[in-house]
């Protein structure tokens, strides 16, 4: 497993919050935390770095999270990438769209840092 976690969000504070939250995984489990500031950059990074886990914001400039998600799922060598969508849209409809686009999980902003870390641990099988 490629020990890389990618954070894609156009908000620098959110990126910073997630990075700080995941610092534990970096320190304790040797994961590398990567980040991208928009959808295109995020997709390019996924292709180049092939991270095990991606925290993907939905509402972003250039390419939104759903589109990135679909692109990733279309490419066979990226299909194993686990994507957790992060969004302010908390409706069931949005959740559906995300799942259909190929997202593994769906987190609603504002999320709890502990929850996010727990989710990441769970997905990565670190419990």
């Amino acid at each position: 497993m490629n020990k890389k976690i990618l954070i894609v969000d156009d908000e620098p504070h959110i990126r910073s919050l997630i990075e700080q939250t995941l610092e534990y995984l970096e320190d304790e489990h040797g994961f590398e935390i990567l980040s991208a500031t928009n959808g295109e950059e995020g997709l390019a990074t996924i292709r180049s770095e092939k991270p095990a886990l991606v925290f993907l914001d939905v509402m972003m400039p250039l390419m939104n999270g759903y589109a990135v998600c679909r692109k990733v799922k279309e490419e066979p060598d990226l299909a194993g990438t686990i994507i957790v969508l992060l969004t302010a849209k908390g409706q069931e409809v949005d959740r559906q769209v995300g799942i259909e686009a190929g997202a593994h999980r769906y987190m609603t902003k504002p999320f709890d840092p502990d929850e996010l870390l727990g989710l990441a641990k769970g997905i990565l099988g670190l419990e």
């Binding site: 504070h13 919050l17 069931e92 709890d112 840092p113």
Partner: protein, 692 residues
């Protein structure tokens, strides 16, 4: 102006007036007919009867005149005979004187003269074998053509009736000089005596009485001849007499011989045996009985056209003419007397009918003309009522109807103009409203979009605030707090930092809920919610909602939480998350406001089939004024003694609950008393399908 009849006949006004008119005309017609016809009929019948009687009276007068004429004739004839007799006797006397003048001259002796006179007179004849006789004062016959009488003593001679014949005449002659006498004497050469009228004259020079006579039969024969002629004339006249149509006059004598009758079968016959079929008596006897009473005899008789059928009423008036011993009778069928009356009655009926029809027709036209404008006005009014404001009566008259019509037309015109103006205004307003509505919709879309993006924009910084606060709290607890131990001031500061971080976290939680609720209600109100409907057992859902909030109650040991769900609650179709949201909201409110006491959740099915959920708490209760507004947006119960140390609500929870319950055709309400607690209840239909 009269319009077409079907229209006219549909007009109630016309029908009423026309019917009234017809009734009045009919009453008048009937009155005229029934008042006049019986009277006229009776009068005419009486007149016909009078006419019948008058004809009979005239015939009676005719008979009377005939009788008088005959009597006159007889009298005249007797007088003429008397004169003749007197002349003959005078001539005889002159002859006697001339013969006896010879005696005076001495040429003849008295006996010779007497013989000559006797011989001469005996041979003298006049008239119808009439003769002269001479007797002396002793009734001794000096000259008589009958040799049995001549030269005999006639003093004891009696006539055919046994009366002394000659001496009374001698006595009259000697007393009065002359005289007349009737007696019964046989004709010369005949044996039966006949009535004879005699004239006799005194001849005193010789002491003789000279006489002559004539048989009355001879006079009567002339009278009878005259009478027969008169009767024949009478018969001829009577045949021409007609009473009514076939009525006639007939005459029978006291011997019941019908000697004048228009029917030749009866005329000349004896009718004594003819029976009156009505009484059974001889008809003639009944007729005689009513003679000269003025009343008619009514009896049944047959008709020439229907012989032998004695069923027709006939009336006869009878008069007895004593002069001839006649019974004059007139006879007529009563129906003929009534025929005139019937004809007149029928004519009056016909005239009445014609007048009735004419009056009805005139009334039809007249009432039609009278009601036409009213009808037209009412038609116009009906059209106007049905919405045709272009209807105009157009009636121009100088009477009240004209004024009414003109006023009506102008009112309708005014109305039409007003409505036109109103229409234009309504169109303008509608246009404005549509525009405003479009703008509102646009605004609504903008609002929704705005709310959506605002909530997104809010969530992102909130995520940072909350997240970093948490990280700080974690770092602080892990790294800084242990280091502050032992330093009183640092410990105090550390404690305050941790407290403040807690406030930041609590407030950011509240802000998160607020954003969620605002977004929720905005979506519900704009109809953009996707209602994910499922069919589920209502009891299970309530149970699940109760479990979701159980944790809240277990954190408050002074509050007992009981759940009572009726067994076997039916299925219902709704968005389970939304219904759970409602129940959880009510329960968390109850928990929030109840510091000590109990909260009870009950669910059951009402008698009317609705599913009912009650959340009862023993909290502070809600004032009546507040109860009305508690389901309004952003409304919160304001009380000094509540919400201390409790997370504040957003003021949207109950509004959202209300929207959800009402979406499923249900109802939500609260019953509360300050100091005793509140019960929030809602009902929804079982097995319902929302419209989403």
């Amino acid at each position: 102006m009269t319009g077409n009849p079907p229209t006219m006949l549909r007009s109630k006004l016309f029908l009423r007036l026309f019917a009234l008119q017809v009734v009045i005309v009919a009453i008048f017609g009937a009155a005229i007919y029934f008042l006049s016809v019986p009277l006229i009929k009776k009068t005419i019948y009486d007149q016909e009867q009078t006419a019948g009687r008058t004809i009979l009276d005239n015939v009676y007068e005719l008979a009377n005149r005939i009788h008088a004429d005959l009597e006159d004739y007889r009298k005249g004839a007797i007088d003429a005979r008397k004169r003749e007799l007197k002349n003959v006797v005078s001539i005889a006397a002159s002859y006697i004187r001339s013969v006896f003048a010879e005696v005076d001259k001495g040429a003849l002796t008295r006996d010779q003269a007497t013989a000559r006179v006797a011989e001469r007179l005996r041979s003298l004849r006049f008239g119808k074998d009439d003769y002269i006789w001479v007797v002396d004062y002793d009734s001794f016959s000096i000259a008589h053509p009958d040799p049995k009488v001549n030269g005999t003593d006639n003093s004891q001679l009696r006539d055919g009736r046994g009366e002394l014949l000659i001496p009374p005449m001698v006595e009259i002659a000697r007393r009065s000089g002359e005289g007349y006498r009737t007696y019964w004497w046989s004709r010369l050469g005949a044996s039966d005596p006949s009535e004879k009228l005699a004239y006799f004259m005194d001849f005193p020079q010789l002491g003789w009485v000279i006489g002559t006579g004539v048989y009355m039969d001879d006079i009567d024969a002339e009278v009878v001849e005259k009478k027969m002629e008169a009767i024949e004339r009478l018969r001829t006249s009577l045949r021409e007499i007609r009473i009514s149509k076939t009525g006639y006059v007939y005459i029978f004598d006291s011997g019941m011989n019908m000697f004048i009758h228009p029917n030749p079968n009866i005329e000349g016959k004896n009718v004594a045996g003819l029976e009156n079929p009505t009484t059974g008596h001889p008809l003639v006897r009944d007729l005689v009985a009513v003679a000269d009473t003025g009343d008619g005899l009514v009896y049944k008789w047959d008709k020439p056209s229907d012989p032998g059928n004695y069923s027709y009423d006939k009336i006869s008036w009878v008069r007895h003419f004593k002069g001839f011993g006649w019974y004059l009778a007139s006879s007529v069928y009563t129906e003929e007397l009534q025929r005139g009356a019937d004809v007149l009655g029928n004519r009056i009926l016909a005239i009445t009918a014609v007048v009735l029809v004419l009056a009805t027709l005139l009334g039809y036209v007249f009432v039609g003309k009278l009601t036409a404008p009213i009808r037209r006005l009412s038609d116009t009014a009906r059209r106007v009522r049905n919405g045709d404001l272009s209807a105009v009566s157009g009636i121009q008259r100088d009477d009240e109807i004209g004024v009414l019509s003109a006023a009506f037309d102008s009112m309708v015109e005014q109305l039409r103009e007003n409505i036109d103006v109103l229409d234009i205004k309504v169109k303008e307003r509608t246009h404005d409203l549509e525009k405003a509505n479009e703008e509102l919709k646009e605004l609504d879309r903008m609002k929704s979009g705005f709310l959506s993006s605002v909530s997104h924009e809010l969530r992102t910084p909130l995520t940072s605030v909350r997240g970093f606060a948490k990280l700080i709290a974690k770092d602080f607890e892990k790294v800084f707090a242990p280091r502050a131990q032992g330093d009183a001031k640092a410990e105090k500061t550390a404690s305050r930092v941790q407290e403040n971080l807690g406030i930041i976290l609590a407030e950011s939680d509240r802000l998160t809920r607020l954003i969620d609720d605002v977004l929720d209600i905005a979506k519900i109100e704009s109809g953009r919610v996707a209602w994910n409907e499922e069919t589920f057992r209502f009891g299970d859902l309530v149970q699940k909602a109760a479990r979701a909030v159980e944790a809240v109650f277990s954190a408050s040991p002074r509050v007992s939480f009981t759940v009572a769900i009726e067994e076997g609650l039916p299925e219902t179709a709704a968005d389970p998350d939304r219904l759970t949201q409602v129940i959880a909201n009510l329960l968390s409110n109850a928990a929030k406001f109840t510091e000590e006491g109990e909260v009870e959740l009950r669910a059951w099915r009402q008698a009317d089939g609705l599913l009912r959920v009650d959340v009862r708490d023993s909290g502070p209760g809600i004032p009546a004024m507040e109860q009305e507004r508690i389901f309004d947006k952003f409304h919160q119960v304001v009380r000094d003694d509540t919400l201390v140390d409790k997370p504040k609500g957003t003021g949207l929870g109950l509004a959202i609950c209300k929207e959800i319950v009402e979406h499923y055709g249900g109802r939500i309400w609260v019953e509360s008393e300050v100091g005793k607690g509140s019960t929030f209840s809602f009902v929804i239909p079982a097995k319902t399908k929302g419209t989403g």
